[in-house]
């Protein structure tokens, strides 16, 4: 009798767990579809002519063409823009990580009277929107004589990335036991040695988080680069894509192809580093 009741409870438990699993899969599947379908739709329609797209928006291409990609590449001058995107993204990411972790160490472990003021002056930058800074920045780089140079772009990008970088690094490094730093100091180590031998290896997770944030934001950034350079040779990918974007646009084929060209490197980046990205986000989200 008791065994039968136990079996019934177990069966009910199994059923409940199967239902919960099914519900979880349904919810996750829906969200996956909501994310993946637009990408699939965009890619699929980039192989259609505009005429075909206008009469067949949801179906597969009847007569697939690569012409949209060839023309988008040529008209958008993506050949000139891609190298710049790589230069700005790699340069900015490397500098923001290096400067943020160094500053984070100083703010978290070498306190002085003015530390909170200097730290605060950096962190307040998080609250400033890019739009409020655009015109002052343009005037500044023009007056400095660095308008239309890669240096201006890198300086501004690094400056824009530092507030959040310093904030995350400082808070992360604050979580590393201060006793480690003090012991090393007693053993005669200088601050730079402590940074290199103790802090840097332990700050790898926050550096990964910063890298992910910085790579995504710099690769997709267009508001600042738009006002910092005028020569095509110095522009980056988003400016090429914006040459195709308009609510009045009539040539969807080229527009979609341009969007796919711009999106592809980020997708490849995610596919190649998805494990590191997931780990980095999870690790960077909690203090060390």
């Amino acid at each position: 009798m008791r065994t039968e009741a136990n079996a019934r409870v177990r069966a009910r438990g199994l059923l409940g767990s199967a239902l919960a699993k099914a519900a979880a899969y349904l919810v996750m599947g829906t969200f996956t579809l909501m994310t993946v379908y637009p990408l699939f739709w965009l890619t699929m329609n980039s192989f259609k002519t505009t005429r075909e797209f206008q009469v067949n928006m949801l179906g597969l291409p009847m007569d697939p063409t690569l012409e949209n990609f060839r023309m988008a590449w040529e008209f958008g001058e993506f050949g000139k823009l891609f190298p710049n995107s790589f230069i700005y993204t790699i340069g900015t990411t490397a500098l923001v990580i290096a400067l943020s972790v160094l500053a984070g160490f100083a703010f978290a472990k070498i306190p002085r009277r003015v530390t909170k003021w200097i730290y605060g002056s950096f962190v307040v930058g998080i609250l400033l929107t890019i739009n409020t800074l655009m015109i002052p920045l343009f005037i500044e780089v023009t007056m400095l004589g660095i308008y239309n140079t890669r240096l201006a772009v890198l300086l501004v990008y690094v400056g824009a990335g530092l507030p959040i970088g310093i904030y995350l690094s400082t808070e992360y490094i604050r979580g590393i036991p201060t006793a480690l730093v003090e012991s090393a100091r007693i053993d005669g180590a200088g601050y730079f040695t402590i940074f290199r031998r103790i802090i840097l290896p332990m700050a790898a997770p926050v550096a990964t988080t910063l890298a992910i944030l910085q790579i995504c934001s710099t690769w997709n950034e267009f508001a600042l680069i738009n006002i910092l350079v005028s020569r095509t040779e110095l522009k980056s990918l988003p400016l090429g894509i914006f040459k195709f974007s308009s609510s009045l646009s009539t040539d969807y084929g080229k527009q979609f192809a341009a969007l796919v060209i711009g999106m592809a490197p980020m997708l490849l980046f995610y596919v190649a580093f998805r494990k590191q990205i997931t780990r980095g986000v999870a690790a960077g989200a909690v203090k060390g």
């Binding site: 002519t49 505009t50 005429r51 797209f53 206008q54 009469v55 928006m57 063409t65 012409e67 023309m71 988008a72 008209f75 958008g76 655009m134 015109i135 343009f138 005037i139 023009t142 267009f222 508001a223 738009n226 006002i227 005028s230 020569r231 095509t232 400016l239 914006f242 040459k243 195709f244 974007s245 308009s246 609510s247 009045l248 646009s249 009539t250 040539d251 969807y252 084929g253 080229k254 527009q255 341009a258």
Partner: protein, 431 residues
């Protein structure tokens, strides 16, 4: 003969010694528009024809263009030649008078080659010829599938009642009487309501509102909104059109889903033959035989019959900071005259970009764009396009209100109150 050769040589040497003039140009160019390649060629040809002028060109499009122009204006480093809108979109150029008066730069002899509407300074926010509009755009045009109407026993509609009569029969066949894709909000205002308000309230009403002598809650404006309300209530426009994106409209119309399609005159370019694929959304033969471009039908209660919303188009401007009488000013004027030449305007006309304001421009066109000059001639009376005279803080509320009216979630009176509140808030913010 010897003397002549010597003089010619001297001129050539003097010319070569003279420094090349550099013109900075901020160009507005859309890479996926029909005629992109032709546009690129236009600029290359100027460079070939004018080796003494060096063009340093920056090409932008859409919002990035306006943001950059704003930054240049703020820093006082405007390019020498740039692209300007006649209204609020380029407000900084107009209000601060940052461009030269083209009426003075180009002179009356040159400007007599253009339509009066294009050279009328009143059509520009700055009150002077900041730019020379390349086109004059009608924003409310009925694209009519005459064959579809005929097949169903209807003649081309002339009145609101004609449209209402079509509803039961066409609805039963799953065909919309009039399609207005309004998911994006602005077509309802630009392609329909501007003309409705122009006919019922009139331009003076908007002038009075801006001068504080009238309110959006006045009967004239509420009645205009009621016409839109009725168009949906009577089933002439379907409420589901608010879920159709602007880009989807031409495909649906071309496939016979609607008898009439409401859009601006610029949309004729959507139906012509695509040079890349050699295909047209509507075959040129059918464009000629089965379709017509007509003004919006006569509306109940209209006080200004026959007016249609229209606005001066975009055009080129010259920086006000170029010294008068300088070589740079001469070079800029030469570039402007080239861009507005018959040769260049004919290329733009033939690619479906617009119908030029330059007189006497001829081009080989497909039937739908070729109908536009006739449309303009038959409908000379124009009214404001609302987003050309009101601030975005106000016209966006009108746009949203029209969508709500279309969905049946707000009445005309409620929307009018909201617009008035937005106008008052905007006015207060300007103090």
């Amino acid at each position: 003969m010897k003397k002549l050769i010597i003089v010619a040589l001297m001129i050539a040497v003097a010319a070569s010694l003279q420094a090349q003039v550099t013109l900075k140009v901020l160009n507005y160019q859309q890479a996926d528009q029909a005629g992109y390649l032709e546009d690129v060629a236009i600029w290359e040809r100027f460079q070939t024809l004018n080796p003494d002028i060096k063009l340093e060109m920056e090409v932008l499009f859409n919002d990035p263009y306006h943001e950059k122009l704003q930054a240049y204006a703020a820093a006082g480093t405007l390019p020498d030649v740039f692209y300007v809108w006649p209204g609020a979109r380029s407000a900084v150029i107009h209000e601060k008078k940052l461009a030269k008066d083209l009426a003075k730069l180009l002179g009356p002899d040159y400007l007599k080659n253009f339509t009066g509407a294009a050279t009328n300074p009143k059509n520009q926010l700055g009150g002077y010829l900041v730019q020379l509009p390349q086109s004059f755009t009608y924003t409310s045009v009925m694209y009519v599938n005459v064959k579809l109407l005929k097949d169903n026993g209807f003649a081309v509609p002339k009145t609101y009642a004609d449209l209402k009569k079509m509803v039961p029969k066409l609805k039963a066949k799953g065909i919309a009487v009039m399609m207005l894709p309004n998911k994006d909000g602005w077509p309802g205002q630009s392609c329909l309501f501007s003309t409705v308000a122009g006919r019922i309230a009139g331009d003076k009403f908007f002038d009075d509102v801006l001068a504080g002598k009238a309110k959006f809650t006045d009967k004239a404006f509420v009645d205009s909104l009621k016409v839109v309300e009725d168009l949906y209530k009577d089933g002439i426009i379907q409420r589901s059109d608010n879920a159709i994106g602007y880009g989807e409209g031409p495909g649906l119309f071309a496939s016979g889903k609607a008898a009439i399609f409401l859009d601006g005159d610029w949309r004729t370019g959507a139906y012509i033959t695509d040079k890349a694929s050699g295909k047209a959304l509507i075959d040129p033969k059918a464009q000629a035989s089965d379709f017509a471009l007509l003004p919006i039908v006569a509306l109940p209660g209209e006080k200004f019959p026959g007016v249609n919303s229209a606005v001066a188009g975009t055009g080129w401007a010259v920086s006000g900071s170029i010294p008068a009488g300088s070589a740079k000013e001469e070079a800029a004027a030469r570039l402007i005259k080239y861009l507005y030449s018959e040769e260049v305007q004919a290329i733009r006309y033939s690619t479906g970009a617009y119908v030029p304001t330059r007189l006497g421009v001829k081009a080989t066109l497909e039937p739908l764009p070729a109908m536009l000059p006739g449309f303009y001639a038959a409908n000379p009376k124009t009214s404001y396009v609302i987003d050309g005279v009101l601030d975005p803080a106000v016209y966006n509320v009108i746009n949203d209100g029209l969508v709500a009216i279309g969905n049946g979630t707000k009445t005309a009176a409620v929307v009018a109150k909201e617009v008035q509140a937005a106008f008052e808030a905007w006015k207060a913010s300007k103090k």
